[in-house]
């Protein structure tokens, strides 16, 4: 509970600080519009509108993520400050609730890797929630289709335009590092792919548009545009008297578009949560490991675990089996040197075979001068070592 209050105080701090005031205003507006729009959607009884308005909910989650990443950044700043203070008076382990996480103390902190991972979870949660929401809408729209109720078209235009405006404002005016990163790094959604494919063929005929159309489009903005088009055509067709089928169809389409947009992002952040090696890093890591395995004294690597802590931070642990006569600190330093550029948080476990038995022979090994080292051939276990 203490932690959550500290989170709350942090949020209040954000509210007070000047740089996030615009965010707060946007949040409140979004909240209000969200309520209005959902009321309208409930009145209109149209599933397509409801599907589109669920973008508002996503906006709230988006803003939440933005606040969280701002909070994390703030925390990191205080951490640096605290570190400076700490170097002066190291004994002063001020228990400063949340910020104390970052002070290297001799106590166990709740989140030993810091709060950077919160961002990932926030992104995953918000994308997953909108996926599940789309799924729920899918089911609801089928049920609605069976029920066959009257749809009031008069609300459609107004609320969809409101949603559109607020969504665009949120996407373009709220600074959100976490989502920016995910949007840039995750694979493109099918919507993006198709649109870029179409734009490419358009640019084939009208080359002048290439600067406008060819860059990668923000998938969230694209979702909003397509959704608006769908809701408009839906309301047009409903006014023409085409009945429920149109509404069901357009809500299904909306749901599938939401799926398509959110799934790549959810997969990207979910993979980080599952502690996996990011695919783009594999090549670089392999190269480093290969180099490191050629170092003097290194026999083999075991238990290589490299995984992404958060967006852009790689954590690794590695067991290195080294030759019995090798200087462990030297091996450690060399392997560290190779890997530290790629892996930000690294732990290298250096071990030797049969080190207990070796100690009985220590006195017989005068040639190294170092009692720790040994190269008793009888304990080589078949490993041929050429130095």
């Amino acid at each position: 509970m203490g932690k959550s209050t500290s989170v709350l105080t942090s949020i209040f701090y954000l509210v007070k600080s000047s740089h996030s005031r615009s965010t707060i205003i946007i949040t409140i507006t979004t909240l209000l519009i969200c309520i209005t729009v959902f009321t309208m959607a409930g009145q209109a009884n149209s599933m397509a509108l409801q599907a589109y308005c669920s973008l508002c909910i996503f906006d709230l989650l988006f803003i939440g993520t933005a606040l969280l990443s701002a909070w994390i950044m703030e925390n990191n700043n205080t951490k640096v400050r605290q570190k400076m203070q700490n170097s002066n008076n190291i004994d002063n382990n001020s228990i400063n609730n949340s910020t104390s996480l970052f002070i290297p103390t001799q106590t166990i902190t709740t989140f030993s890797y810091g709060t950077a991972r919160f961002e990932v979870l926030a992104v995953f949660t918000s994308t997953m929630l909108s996926i599940l929401g789309a799924f729920f809408i899918l089911k609801e729209s089928i049920e609605k289709y069976l029920e066959d109720e009257i749809i009031h078209t008069e609300y459609l235009m107004l609320s969809s335009i409101l949603t559109y405006i607020i969504h665009m404002i949120v996407i373009y005016f709220v600074r959100n590092q976490a989502f920016d990163h995910v949007i840039a790094a995750s694979s493109s959604s099918w919507l993006q792919e198709h649109v870029s494919d179409m734009f490419q063929s358009v640019c084939h005929y009208i080359p002048g548009l290439s600067r406008l159309l060819l860059p990668r489009i923000n998938p969230l903005a694209l979702l909003c545009w397509c959704g608006l088009a769908i809701v408009f055509s839906d309301s047009f067709l409903l006014k023409m008297g085409y009945g429920h089928f149109v509404d069901t169809l357009s809500s299904l389409l909306m749901a599938f578009m939401t799926f398509g947009t959110m799934v790549p992002m959810a997969i990207y952040s979910g993979k980080i949560l599952l502690q996996t090696t990011p695919a783009p890093m594999i090549g670089q890591l392999d190269k480093c490991l290969h180099e490191a395995s050629r170092l003097d004294g290194v026999l083999e690597f075991r238990h290589e675990h490299f995984w992404a802590l958060s967006f852009g931070t790689l954590v690794g642990s590695l067991h290195v089996r080294c030759r019995r006569d090798a200087d462990e600190q030297l091996v450690l330093a060399h392997v560290w040197n190779k890997l530290a550029n790629v892996v930000q948080i690294l732990t290298i476990h250096v071990f030797k075979d049969d080190w207990l038995r070796r100690q009985t022979h220590t006195f017989m090994q005068p040639q190294t001068g170092n009692p720790v080292l040994s190269n008793n051939p009888s304990t080589y276990n078949g490993f041929v070592v050429v130095t």
């Binding site: 190291i90 709740t110 799924f135 089911k139 023409m240 089928f245």
Partner: protein, 789 residues
Amino acid sequence: MFDTDVFSKTSKTRPVSDVLHIIILLIIIKLLKTFGLFITYDLLKSYHVVLILFLTTLFTSICLLFIQKPFSSFRPNKILIYRLIKYTICLTIIRLLWLFGLTLCGPLRTILLYEHSDIVIIACFQALFSSSSIGPQGQTSRIRGVVFFILAVLAIFAFDNDDSRQNIDHPEGHLHHRFFAHIFYQLTSLIGVADHKGGVILLLIALFFRCGLNSWSKKLVIDVGGQKKFYAITTCLSTICLIPMSFIILLFNNLFPDSIDSIRSTFQTTISTTITSSLFDNISSLIIPIILITLFLFILDFYVEQLAIIKLDRIRTFRYGTLTMIFSSFIISFIWVKTIRITSNNIWFGRMMQIEEHELSGGVVFAVIMFAFATDLLISPIKQRSGAFIGYNQEGVPLFNLTHQKSQSLLLILKSSLRDILAESDSRRIFYFLCINLMFTFVELLYGAWTNSLGLLSDGFHMLFDCTALVVGLYAALMSRWKPTRVFSYGYGRVEVLSGFVNGLFLVVVAFFVFYEAIGRLFEPPEINTNRLLFVSVAGFAVNMIGIFSFSHAHAHAHGGGGGGGSCPMSQPTPTKEQHHHGHSHDHSHSHSHGSSSHDHEHSHGSNEKSSHHGHSHALTDNANMRGVFLHVLADTLGSVGVIISSLLIQYFGWNISDPICSLFISIMIFLSVIPFLKESAMTLLLQTPSNIQYEILDRILKLDQVQSYSDEHFWNLSSSLTVGTIHIQIANDGDEQRVTAQVQTILKEAQIQNVAIQVEKQAFFNHLNGLNSALGQLASSQRTFSHR
């Protein structure tokens, strides 16, 4: 494969200027064909399908016999003739379907649906079913083409309000094909679609049949000796086929002239024109259009298309042909409808036009555009179809991997995954429950469809929706047993945690929507039809109880908890009509975590007590995945209980307003009860240091011989059972690393931490790093230990 040879020919396309005359010829012929189809349609209004087909094929075969002389050099053997006859029968059936579809849908829609080349259809199927074979770039445009195609068909099927016609000539529209029509109407009314929609279905069936037949008959064509000869022979054979049929039809028409006349007379009252005469009076007016049709549809078209295929290539032929036909038919039908409007009782070829026509509608215009796009996208050749580049061989020649992903048979995959599922108790339990649930759902859906009950149907969909949570859980349980890979270096154990988290989010979404709906209903409580609701909810409750029992045995804690007698209430509201939302209720189960204070409305009900007991017992499982699934099932169960209670309430007291209030209450309960679970799994995902790692453990490490300090200690739960950790330890210069490592390892092992990495650092390490100019940034904390002394 069919289209490989087609697309390979594209490399030698000739420039347009060389073959311009052929293109123009093709376009003209296609225009004529369109025109011919319109004439056919008019003819079909007055004559029977079989008769028209018979006459046209008769004329065609006479013409072809003279032009082609197919039997002059034809040496038949028994097998070949047998195959030819089979082909001919199929062909005739397809043509009959096509013409019958024409009578139902009108010429424009027929052209839109039927005049697609085989390439388009096969490309459709390929894009849908074999995704791996084509490169990503081609694939997107193909998929778009398929989507356009489907949209176009859908537009014709659903958005084309061709209703005016149906009002007039519904049950037995075209009088001459009574027999067919009657059966067909029976059929369509059984499915419940309007007859023009039935025509759409017929045309699509005919189209797919034609494609299948054409690719099947490829070898036959070669055996017979050329496309033209084949065409001539099959046409002749088809004429022979049609002789008996058309005689039967004629006989029928002569046997029951009265009925025809009676129908016709009723018909005329709507049409307000006269002209009824016996069939043979207008033979002369029949002959001319028939000859025209024969020429346009069957002879000229065929020959020009053959020519164009040779001179141009298949793709271009089909592209120009199809596009011409689509657009020309669009324009012609526009004019056609207009002329009919102006001269509504104009006599065309001696026959009456009917006023009610297949008019243009928004759906058709949309379909025209979509079909044009789809044809263009699907028919355009795929750029490269190469295999994956592997490398160079010894001579320096590049090697390609042409084998696509080896596709195992579906059966084998199913079998092996079934074995995996049944191998462990968790997944087995989920699987059995999923099976029961699905069975119940299908029974419900079937029964709902049978009795035409909306409540049952939507409840069935709801159950299906709930099953997805089980599927997620099942898949996660299966996945968590996979071996670690390069990317998933810790194994797949975390998948369970993640799936538990997702299931928790699922419940949050459910709670939100129930809340939202309840608020909407609070202001205007709907009338609820409790009819049959009770039965369904009791059945659902029974099914979910099975689930609860089976999952509860998974956990060692038996059901003991004391929900006590009359707690639990949650009269779960039946939302709209009669579906109950399972899945929202779910309260006590988790409330133990908040102390079971929260439920106190009383309507004590015997059955709930049980569920509350279970709730208490199960929250203690360690497997997040199973817990998530269990939560979901529990929510469902309590949902059914709620429906039982609320339907009883409404039935006996008529408190409709109680329904949304309970809904609100329940959604809040769900939300509150999911939160602890959600928080717990989120903490695991966030790599929270487990609470059982005590300070004293690290203290023991610190007290070890030679150890000066430690830093970068990270411990986290990998999955529910496995704890992992890394730690850096700074020791004195004369310490022995291996000894310290072993000691620390023992300490951590005692603390149930299995997978540890210990980095032992001395001052020498930092000196080395300084020498190597390495990045020291992240080591700041551990280095401090040394620098401070």
